[in-house]
């Protein structure tokens, strides 16, 4: 499984070494980076590590222009998803954005009092604290990570350091695209349908997280059958 492309580019540029903490970093980002523990060895059984399933709802699909509206995350340990240990945060719709389009998709009413809104740095800080050094899993996750990275950069921080796994890639690995499986069949909807996961609460950050988390567990199971053995971290992440 491939790592985040940014991380790889970054590793090439820096020769695989982390740059020294910069003075300009906000405190919360420094805490995150200084506390960052390297990935466990590839032989670590997968059910011994925690991963964080992440989903971001945004004003649109253009990473340069669009902004994050909400962020949801759930931690999966072994075969369990803990609903108590969740992350959920909302941002107000930034000025200059017509939010009506995203309302129809996400059901998020702009600046509604139903949600406890926070500002972007607070959201980033609390998310980094939540995610720590866990592997991040998500569906088409590179988009979500890139949205977060752009946001981090706007606040004088550097990108996420975590290893990232895309459930769409995992699904493709289990059942490559071909005549019977056209490429668009790797959407979350199509996969949820294929692996019989009820599509309730679609297009809320946490609802999508939950669906992705169940998908993740179901896909892992099938990968374990395919590889004929208990999964280790190395089966999913190239060292």
């Amino acid at each position: 499984m491939e790592d985040g492309w940014l991380a790889r580019v970054r590793q090439k540029l820096t020769g695989g070494k982390s740059p020294a903490p910069r003075d300009t970093w906000p405190d919360w980002y420094r805490t995150y980076r200084e506390g960052y523990a390297p990935l466990p060895p590839p032989a670590t059984p997968l059910d011994e590590i925690s991963i964080v399933v992440l989903d971001a709802e945004t004003t649109g699909l253009d990473v340069r222009r669009d902004r994050i509206l909400s962020l949801g995350a759930l931690r999966v340990t072994g075969n369990s998803i803990s609903l108590a240990d969740k992350f959920e945060a909302y941002l107000p719709v930034p000025a200059g954005f017509d939010a009506s389009g995203s309302v129809s998709i996400h059901g998020i009413i702009p600046n509604s009092t139903r949600y406890h809104h926070m500002d972007e740095p607070t959201l980033l800080a609390s998310f980094l604290q939540y995610v720590g050094s866990n592997v991040i899993v998500g569906h088409h996750i590179n988009f979500d990570v890139e949205m977060i990275n752009r946001s981090l950069q706007r606040h004088d921080a550097e990108p996420l350091w975590n290893t990232v796994i895309d459930t769409a890639d995992l699904a493709r690995r289990l059942r490559p695209a071909g005549y019977w499986t056209p490429p668009h069949d790797y959407s979350l909807d199509a996969l949820a349908k294929r692996y019989s996961i009820p599509l309730s609460d679609r297009h809320t950050a946490l609802g999508d997280c939950y669906i992705t988390a169940v998908l993740w567990l179901k896909l892992l199971r099938r990968l374990a059958v395919k590889l004929d053995g208990d999964l280790v971290l190395g089966d999913l992440v190239k060292g």
Binding site: S80, L83, A84, V214
Partner: protein
């Protein structure tokens, strides 16, 4: 704010008992702490001997199978838990390790409910524990689990398996005790005399050292394994589990679930180093919980004595009290109580048939049915009232008639006696199957009804009002059906006059209110100054319903509420009045049950002064439809000429 995902979990759980008993707020909190567990097929949820780790499971999708292991390590399937089933909760309440192996039979998703918060909730929601305790006591899975759980500690392995059944044990205020060296037969005699299910074995200081239950007796003595002359200590269970005298029901329940013991001994200080003060059995707890109709009906079928039937009917009354208190719909309550009463009648008939057999009278010489009359016939009886019943048997050759009737009269003697022992008093007017007048063949019954319909004397009209609401409770219904066909056949010819007389009888008790809008109270006799709820308010409504439904030729509708419902459909112009009448009848039924339960009688007579303001108002409002329905009868049957 709870998130969408925990809302989804909440939505799922709120339909499932015992979660359904929690308030939204509390359940949302439970849902928010749920852990969703994915179990691929063949994976293990827990193994025997593992600690329960503060969670129990609800199957969200898929299926989990529970296995027990026998001595050779073979897996025996105990239960398959499908969607919405709960498992793994006993070890948690009992602070015990898992006994079973739980394994996914299919790809499954489980909700692991964090018990930490749940345990707190149990204290606030007694119904949750009630539910758990009752469902565990009634389930063979948990019975098996109990046994397995303390096999190691208590039951020797060579013991034959014996599913603990719900036993009939009375709780004794004063515990029945005996000494360890008394003979088993003496202990058994004492238990029988005192009518208890267990005896506590004590030492010189009255400290409990063991307990002998009727189950122990059955197991050891009845099977001939131990001599009846042997001292009790050879068969007693020891040590006993003790609890404090002031232990709450909740504590007792938890202790029973934890230990799997069916009897707990109450002592002065809760240890076995102090004097015995009482015994609580699992059975006593079931009694306290008000029970479910299903448990009562099941127990009725197992009952062997009228004494126990009486106790069950008392339990049904407690159930009724909780229904009344919770304002359950009267239609539902009467359906449940009618079913319980019918079951008791059937049991009494079975006991009667057994007695006939035992006396050498053999089997019934002809097909017969037992007719419930009056309120029980209409399926409206809540509290035990006098018996009103009759017996009908198929036509037999004339030369056999007297022998056959003789058999059924004797049978009815037994049945009415048993019903009396259960608490249904003999009928003052002797309207019972044991009366030769009301134990007849189909043809004789037809003649009888024809006579009633022709000779419309006041006495006949009274009989009609009771007998016309017959309902067979024993046979296949074919005999009562023959009677109904006959009656409707007869009505083609004797319709008008008969119905008019019937309607006139329904007006026997005029307005229940005096001119000054006071209640009409009885002027003399035992119930002087009491208001007769039954004859002044309910009777006019039931009588009117009967006449109108007969006129409408809807003979198969045998219940006042359903009669008015049907009438409302048949006569849309009067629908509102009929619905009001039905509602009034419901209010009166409820009020009568409430009063009867409070006073321990059938609730028929009420002193206006003992009514609360709200009851008086309800009662008074119910009189309006009584009056209006009487006016309707008067006009329809042109009764102002007759009276």
């Amino acid at each position: 704010m709870p998130n969408q995902v925990s809302y989804r979990v909440y939505d799922f759980l709120k339909e499932i008992a015992p979660f359904s008993y929690l308030e939204q707020e509390a359940l949302l909190q439970v849902a928010g702490r749920v852990e969703v567990r994915y179990q691929p097929p063949g994976t293990v949820v827990f193994r025997p001997g593992e600690p329960p780790r503060d969670r129990f499971f609800v199957v969200k999708e898929g299926a989990i199978e529970l296995f027990s292991e026998d001595a050779e390590g073979n897996e025996l399937l105990v239960e398959r838990c499908g969607e919405r089933d709960i498992f793994g909760i006993r070890p948690l309440l009992a602070n015990d390790n898992y006994i079973f192996l739980a394994r996914a039979a299919e790809e499954s998703l489980l909700y692991a409910v964090n018990s930490e918060g749940f345990r707190e909730l149990i204290k606030e929601y007694p119904r949750v524990l009630e539910y758990l305790a009752t469902s565990m006591a009634g389930s063979s899975r948990y019975a098996l689990e109990y046994r397995a759980a303390h096999r190691q500690e208590r039951i020797p392995p060579e013991e034959p398996p014996d599913l603990p059944a719900l036993q009939s044990i009375h709780q004794s205020r004063e515990p029945v005790v005996c000494r360890a060296n008394e003979t088993i037969i003496d202990a058994a005699k004492q238990m029988t005399e005192m009518n208890v299910g267990s005896v506590v074995v004590v030492n010189d200081e009255r400290w409990p050292i063991g307990i002998v239950t009727d189950r122990d007796l059955r197991r050891s003595v009845a099977t001939g394994m131990v001599s009846r002359k042997a001292p009790v200590f050879t068969i007693m269970s020891s040590p006993v589990l003790c609890i404090e005298r002031k232990a709450t029901v909740t504590e007792i329940q938890i202790e029973m679930i934890r230990s799997g013991y069916h009897h707990l001994v109450q002592t002065e200080d809760g240890s076995d180093k102090s004097a015995v003060t009482g015994v609580v059995s699992e059975h006593d707890l079931l009694l306290l919980q008000g029970n479910s109709p299903a448990v009562i009906i099941q127990e009725i079928s197992r009952a062997r004595t009228t004494g126990y039937l009486r106790e069950l009917r008392d339990r049904a009354e407690r159930l009724l009290a909780s229904y009344i208190e919770k304002e359950v719909a009267i239609g539902y309550i009467t359906a449940v109580m009618t079913q319980i009463n019918d079951e008791i009648i059937r049991k009494c008939i079975k006991l009667g048939l057994a007695s006939m057999q035992a006396e050498g009278h053999g089997n019934p010489p002809a097909l017969f049915d037992w007719l419930a009359l009056g309120s029980q016939g209409r399926g409206e009886q809540l509290l035990r009232t006098d018996q009103d019943n009759a017996l009908i048997f198929e036509d037999v050759a004339a030369n056999r008639y007297n022998t056959v009737k003789g058999y059924f009269l004797k049978l009815s003697d037994y049945v009415t006696e048993y019903l009396n022992e259960v608490g249904f008093d003999y009928c003052d007017g002797d309207m019972m199957a044991s009366n030769p007048k009301w134990c007849l063949s189909v043809s004789k019954w037809k003649e009888q009804f024809t006579t009633w319909m022709i000779e419309t004397t006041p006495e006949n009209m009274l009989n009609t009002s009771i007998f016309f609401d017959y309902r067979g409770v024993w046979g296949d219904g074919s005999l009562p059906d023959k009677l109904s066909q006959h009656i409707f056949g007869e009505m083609e010819f004797k319709n008008t006059r008969f119905l008019a007389s019937l309607a006139s009888a329904a007006l026997q008790n005029p307005s229940p209110l005096t001119f000054f809008r006071n209640f009409v109270v009885e002027r003399s006799g035992e119930h002087k100054d009491f208001f007769d709820l039954k004859s002044r308010a309910m009777r006019p409504l039931t009588d009117a319903a009967r006449v109108l439904i007969l006129q409408a030729k809807q003979g198969n509708i045998n219940n006042t509420l359903r009669r008015y419902e049907a009438l409302a459909k048949l006569e849309p112009q009067n629908a509102e009045l009929y619905r009001e009448a039905a509602k009034a009848h419901e209010v009166l039924t409820r009020l009568r049950a409430e009063l009867g339960l409070k006073r321990g009688d059938n609730g028929r007579f009420v002193k206006p002064s003992e009514l609360s303001q709200i009851h008086r108002l309800l009662l008074r409002n119910s009189f309006t439809p009584v009056k209006e329905i009487q006016q309707l009868l008067e006009i329809r049957f042109q009764l102002n000429y007759i009276r």
